[in-house]
Symmetry: none
Subunit: 260 residues, 2 copies
């Protein structure tokens, strides 16, 4: 589906942006790049330097004279704009997270296109009106002007996210989070730890309950995995083994323990 998502750059000025766009498309699994009446050339040294592993994609980019030719075969086209002031708010409009899942779903029916304007001023209102919808990237309104390749980055990233989510729901397999050790296993580990910390003289007297409680709180909060619980059993065992090698009375509490 991602190979049916086209990136259209309208009158791009800087060769570096062509290269960066090709590279990041490759990173996120897109491949269809179209340039409308570009000022910069894909043969420019800077374009090729910025493209790195996107070079083949840069070489395959089609150059067309106008937006119409770029999106002629598309079933859905979205204009992109950081600044939505003055734009007629009709049709499909939203942030990448809001509308790219829909956009991707439409790719099941034919090619779809994201249209990006030239660096200094973006798309004209007329060009925006030619598209089916409008995508705006939520930025700080005080500094709304995103670099072209960075705007493409955000869209490619969200497209791949939508694609991953679609693939995941198709498989209908929930992605499990990290496994946490069952409560009973944690309890056994804490008992083992209490025994060991008592043996080494860390837990003693009237403070031992509150100290042990603090340690339980700290480790419990981290939601230990079964592997980590085993690791702490290992620590307790080693402490007990060590104290058994000592002469009697060696593991008395240290005199100066003001920090506890």
């Amino acid at each position: 589906m991602l190979n049916r998502c086209r990136i259209v750059l309208v009158r791009p000025h800087y060769a570096g942006n062509l290269g960066s766009t090709a590279r990041v498309m490759r990173n996120f699994g897109l491949s269809d790049l179209v340039l409308v009446a570009p000022y910069a050339s894909t043969n420019d040294l800077e374009a090729r330097r910025f493209a790195t592993h996107g070079l083949s994609l840069l070489d395959a980019a089609r150059v067309v004279p106008d937006i119409g030719a770029a999106v002629a075969d598309c079933v859905l086209t979205l204009a992109t704009s950081a600044n939505t002031a003055g734009v007629v708010r009709r049709g499909m409009i939203g942030t990448p997270a809001e509308i790219l899942p829909q956009f991707l779903a439409a790719a099941g029916r034919g090619p779809v296109a994201l249209v990006f304007g030239p660096e200094p001023h973006g798309l004209s209102n007329e060009e925006i009106a030619r598209c089916h919808g409008l995508l705006h990237i939520p930025v700080d309104p005080a500094f709304a002007s995103l670099n072209l390749a960075q705007a493409v980055t955000v869209c490619c990233y969200e497209l791949r996210k939508a694609w991953s989510a679609a693939v995941a729901t198709e498989r209908a397999e929930p992605t499990p989070g990290p496994i946490v050790a069952p409560h009973a296993d944690q309890e056994r580990m804490f008992e083992h730890l209490r025994e060991a910390l008592t043996a080494v003289g860390y837990l003693f007297g009237h403070r031992s309950e509150s100290l042990m409680h603090a340690i339980r709180q700290l480790i419990g909060r981290a939601m230990p995995t079964p592997q980590e619980v085993k690791l702490l059993h290992g620590l307790a065992r080693q402490l007990l083994w060590t104290t058994r090698q000592q002469p009697p009375g060696a593991a008395e509490p240290e005199a100066d323990r003001s920090e506890t």
Copy 2:
């Protein structure tokens, strides 16, 4: 809250990436940029050309000699990596959408940092291990190497999304969580703990690094309070005191430690 989210670039090579990073941070409302031993200079013409409206942010960027200095005051640090192969998969780990909301919430308790590696190869496994968690941007595994400034773009974009969502859901004052011990204090505590666990024979031989790493991940994930850090210093001190009372050779590793 976004002004407490720090972007740390470790040994960046290309001036253009410094400028692009400053610009996109400004676009999404971030402002705290720290450079660790950079090869490129913020005074480089390319850095300034790429920065556009991010120039003031570029000028305010701090330069420090190592990661420790960059994150000393941080309550939470996330390493970023496109390639998670070979990285020990423990602790807080996830995509920007999965873990940046948590990251942003932690900023209520103190500065938090996203750490990005140098352009050619990213962060070393040792540098990743120094952070509390690992953020990976989901890309096409065949072309996983994202441009540095584009990786920063994705993270800043997701951070602003998380921030907007947080603002929308809780118009009221954000409830600050418990205070977290600064990174530098945690480092000192982990060094003390390493010394003590070595003395009792828990850390030994070729497994000691991965064991210590697992303990760091577990405790780091819990975001220990200053009080808890003191408590762990107390434990380390007690273990060291105990082993000093022993006859030589008593703290040899236990033979049967299959669980570690």
